[in-house]
């Protein structure tokens, strides 16, 4: 997909809430422009023609009362219908995903059908196409706002409550989202990706994500695994299947499969992984992760290789 369209209200995804908003916007702009032109034409007419007595009562009642009542009532009905469009309503069978805003990243958790446990990941929301997805939006710290411009309008994440957004994505693709409520120093770099894929691909992805990480057997990756604990990464991060269970930072169980690092800061490959670990504070100053400049070069490479192997 063209990068400029990843995050654009002007290029709404077909069939999404944003497409409805786009349509509503077009109707409003075109309608307002037409009315404006008629009013200006009347003014010009009044100035250019010779004065003659007009039926003021007729104009006041017709132009000032009847016309606005009809036009605004029609708009009201139309805009309410947009607000209640089927695309925006979920059902009991809707897939539920909880997205929690944090300074400055997103925790995303999926409830597994028929199971009490949920799968936690970060900074990307995978959705199956053609099926309503119910997002429960919350925050752990300050106010954030969930905004994926090509898919839907903004929904605030307010401390102490859960807000809701139902999304239906019709076409496979990658859509970029952004926190839309100032939430501190790195607000502008708090991004996420919505990845829409076919129901089959989505099911395979969810199945893979639900698996714990497997123990590395290759010596280099084994070193990386040991470095994870030697450097204290497990004080903040969890990797399911290992003793690391902390929830302060993003869950890294399948970090190697993710589209981006640092909440949309970097693409994800072994080079950016190493650079992010060693230079976090250069990439995202003020982030709660320190620059982990405690490893030798080889150790840093091993750690990055192990994390990238978690797919």
């Amino acid at each position: 997909m063209d990068d400029s369209r990843l995050q654009s209200v002007l290029h709404p995804a077909p069939g999404s809430g944003s497409a409805l908003l786009d349509q509503l916007g077009t109707v409003m702009y075109v309608g307002a422009a037409l009315i404006f032109l008629v009013v200006i034409a009347l003014v010009i007419h009044a100035v250019l023609t010779s004065p003659k007595p007009a039926d003021a009562r007729k104009w006041v009642i017709g132009g000032g009362l009847v016309f606005p009542v009809i036009a605004l009532s029609a708009l009201l009905v139309y805009s309410i219908s947009v607000g209640n469009a089927p695309e925006r309503r979920g059902s009991d069978h809707t897939l539920r995903i909880r997205v929690t805003g944090k300074q400055w990243w997103w925790e995303v958790s999926y409830e597994l059908p028929g199971s009490a446990r949920s799968i936690v990941l970060a900074n990307e929301v995978h959705v199956p196409i053609g099926r309503p997805v119910h997002l429960e939006l919350a925050t752990d710290d300050v106010i954030h706002s969930f905004w994926v411009p090509a898919l839907a309008g903004k929904v605030d994440m307010i401390p102490g409550r859960t807000n809701h957004l139902v999304l239906t994505v019709a076409e496979p693709g990658i859509y970029r989202g952004q926190c839309a409520e100032y939430c501190g120093g790195q607000h502008a770099f708090m991004a996420l990706y919505v990845i829409a894929e076919s129901p089959d691909e989505f099911a395979r992805w969810l199945e893979r994500q639900s698996q714990p990480a497997s123990m590395p057997t290759e010596p280099f990756l084994r070193t990386g695994y040991e470095m994870f604990f030697a450097g204290g990464c497990h004080d903040c991060h969890a990797v399911r299947g290992t003793p690391a269970t902390a929830t302060l930072g993003p869950d890294l169980t399948h970090v190697g499969s993710r589209y981006s690092l640092g909440a949309g800061m970097l693409r994800n490959h072994i080079g950016t992984m190493a650079g992010w670990i060693a230079g976090t504070q250069d990439v995202k100053p003020g982030s709660f992760m320190p620059s982990m400049n405690v490893y030798t070069g080889q150790e840093l490479r091993a750690l990055s290789a192990w994390l990238e192997s978690l797919e």
Binding site: I270, A278, D282, L300
Partner: protein, 121 residues
């Protein structure tokens, strides 16, 4: 004396050439502009300061300004095109203790990146 004047002109012309930097090494088959795009795509700037690449101001690895006049690659190997290309393709193969990981890329991309680095004067 006309001879003296001629010699003076020749000498001053020769000296005027001295502040021109020597051209960087030539990389056969490398395209500097594509190299710049590759540096941006791979986000090498997370670790390196690279003039001409937007946002490349990392401090994890060495700054790459004036790379055409750099004497050693990674402080170890004489800076010449073949070695630089091999380094870009697989740094740990040349220096096992380096922090720079092997980033999978084609030989052509490595040549392009080398060409760009040698365009930095």
């Amino acid at each position: 004396m006309p001879e003296c004047r001629a010699i003076a002109i020749v000498i001053s012309l020769l000296l005027s050439g001295c502040d021109q930097p020597l051209p960087g090494p030539e990389v056969q088959g490398g395209d500097a502009e594509r190299g710049r795009a590759a540096l941006q795509k791979y986000e090498c700037g997370v670790c390196h300061l690279i003039p001409g690449v937007p946002g490349a101001k990392g401090r994890v690895g060495p700054a790459l300004h004036a790379y055409s006049r750099r004497i050693y690659i990674a402080g170890r190997f004489p800076n010449e095109p073949d070695t630089l290309t091999r380094w870009l393709l697989d740094p740990p193969a040349l220096a096992p203790d380096t922090a720079m990981p092997r980033i999978p890329m084609t030989q052509k991309t490595a040549l392009d990146i080398a060409a760009y680095l040698y365009s930095l004067e």
